[in-house]
Symmetry: C2
Subunit: 375 residues, 2 copies
């Protein structure tokens, strides 16, 4: 993997290009979440041509449980399995083990947990999570970390962070001892933790930076803390993480969260919000947020969003999409998901243009209140 | 509407072209069912380009309840509302009133029923069902009929058939008194009834033929009767219905039902089977029927169906589709629906080629057992 930082705007926002063996990614970028090997309710063709996704996510925890390593290995990896030939990033399973699995027990060795599907017992260690991600075959893979809840006591947050750092060294070692399974390169991103404690975030950012990996991530944010704390932590960390490496803020967020964090020097984002909220009828547009189930859209025959360059957004009306939601039609989920993802991709693409023009800060200050408007 | 019968194969199978103000339909044709204004889990672009649907159905009963006439009228009709610019056919609501609505009461005037959604009371008459279909704006509209259940007593079937004939005359009168709402022509198809009684089917076919409408339909079949009875009734009716008009067998059926009925002189079909069964993991292919949830497909990395000319069928594997079903992913519903519909459209397209070549009978005898194979 290669990262070329093209420019840093006066505001601090960055534009760059990540190159992987499965193609290039223009940053800042938003990565749709394809939990179990599919971005929910969206086909891979729609991701390519309607949404213009450059990279998607897979979740190690989910893929490990279903379809399982045997099938993914036989398929030739996730790219071949789901037919997505552009870059893929997998998380490490850390977050899901803590948010989904039952009866988890954290030890120095790793985490013992029960599957949320059938209650079966499993062990995730830094080593086997690297092996699993080798078998999935993503271009960018994540270190195994503990993601402490919000709020966390200082003592727990510190202990957890230190465990995450020790696990990181085991991940790095394991990767050094093993080769990619499918020929293409796989790049590890370590994860900064430290909850909402400034000194821990600083310490973690320094520890992570010292490992000199090709890219770095910030985890443990957008887990319930106030937005201001998220921005404060992110700002502290991006001051320390090396400028010449891409920075990935995990699990964030709303359109305005993304624009504010881009200004803090973040290059990569992922979030289930455009798809999950879309499936509940919440649409993000350039003019603000739409609850499409609202009666007011029943006879609004204007496009879902004329400004988002996407066939679905421009060629289906708000009245039609509302009708599909009210009638409980599957197509509602698909159209809302496509629109929201296309909007998110257009948001970061437009942000990139403003960065390249050196006008990001002013543009962002104008956009944030507009994006937050309730229509 | 115009129908040109191009050829009748030695077997009795027919190839033709129906021309409507929204374009041409090559017969024999299968029409995907878009109940509430969307073919479930499929976008209009997928219908056009992946599935090659030439005409889709809308259900008057469903569209009348949701989104309702006010919205459809303001939208400019169903074509503008759902963005489907090719031909549309609407049923008359008769079948749904009898299969879905609660507390229905049949009178000479029409049917009083309660909505299955909110229990509200409504009255369908031949006259207002014509008005409703005017407002929906389909190219082909259906007469309001009573669809008796299977089995029905002879006396009931006869009484019901006679009511359907009287209602037909009221439909014809109402249409003569009213104009299309959106400028394009709307063509009425009356419906032959008569349950599984040969003399009633003959009498009904003669009564329907005598009205000299531009196309004719056969209803009340595929409602639980043995397949042989369906074919027998269909054969009796098609001997009487005029050859120069298209014949539509409503609600049928499996791929082999379609091939057998084409041989009996049927030109048009619709059925929820490819979408509904698809959503349950039942796939129709040129080699037979696949239960894609079956464990045996878990590591079968061959295409869903290499023979069906459809991107989804050829570019996603059986293993991947099975995984999506097992994991409960929405994409499973979409891919299975697209594949099954593309297969049904390919089936009738291939049938048409065989008819034009004069080889339909032999081809059909070879195909039917193959299509019925359980893979």
């Amino acid at each position: 993997m290669d990262f070329k930082l093209i420019t840093t705007d006066p505001s601090g926002a960055r534009a760059g290009v990540i190159t992987t063996d499965h193609g290039a990614i223009e940053t800042p970028i938003f990565m749709p979440v394809g939990t179990v090997g599919s971005v929910k309710a969206v086909t891979q063709e729609q991701l390519r041509s309607d949404i213009n996704a450059q990279i998607i996510l897979g979740n190690t925890y989910h893929l490990y449980l279903r379809p399982g390593m045997d099938v993914l290995r036989k398929a030739g990896g996730l790219h071949r399995f789901n037919g997505w030939e552009r870059p893929i990033l997998t998380d490490s399973g850390g977050y899901q083990v803590f948010s989904l699995a039952a009866n988890r027990k954290i030890k120095e060795e790793g985490v013992v947990f029960q599957s949320h599907i059938d209650g079966s017992r499993h062990l995730f260690t830094p080593e086997n999570v690297m092996d699993i991600q080798r078998n999935i075959g993503a271009d960018i893979i994540m270190a195994f970390d503990e993601c402490p809840p919000y709020p966390s006591e200082y003592a727990y947050a510190k202990k957890s962070m230190e465990l995450t750092h020790r696990w990181l060294d085991r991940c790095i070692r394991r990767l050094a001892e093993t080769d990619p399974v499918y020929g293409h390169a796989q790049t590890l991103f370590p994860i900064v933790q430290g909850s909402t404690y400034k000194d821990l975030r600083r310490a973690s950012a320094e520890a992570i930076a010292s490992r000199n990996c090709a890219g770095n991530a910030i985890g443990g944010l957008s887990v319930g803390e106030p937005e201001n704390e998220m921005y404060e932590m992110c700002g502290i960390v991006t001051e320390i993480l090396p400028a010449e490496k891409p920075r990935y803020l995990m699990g964030v967020g709303t359109p305005w969260n993304i624009l504010n964090n881009i200004e803090l020097g973040i290059d990569m984002f992922d979030c289930v919000m455009p798809t999950r909220n879309g499936r509940n009828g919440m649409l993000f547009t350039w003019d603000g947020v739409v609850n499409i189930k609202n009666k007011k859209w029943a006879d609004d025959f204007s496009p879902i969003d004329a400004q988002t360059p996407c066939f679905a957004s421009q060629n289906y009306t708000r009245a039609y999409l509302r009708h599909l939601f009210v009638a409980g039609e599957f197509l509602a989920l698909t159209l809302a998901s496509i629109h929201n993802l296309a909007f998110y991709l257009d948001l970061v693409k437009t942000a990139r243009k403003e960065i390249l023009a050196g006008t990001y800060g002013e543009w962002k200050r104008r956009m944030v209140p507009q994006l937050q408007t309730r229509l």
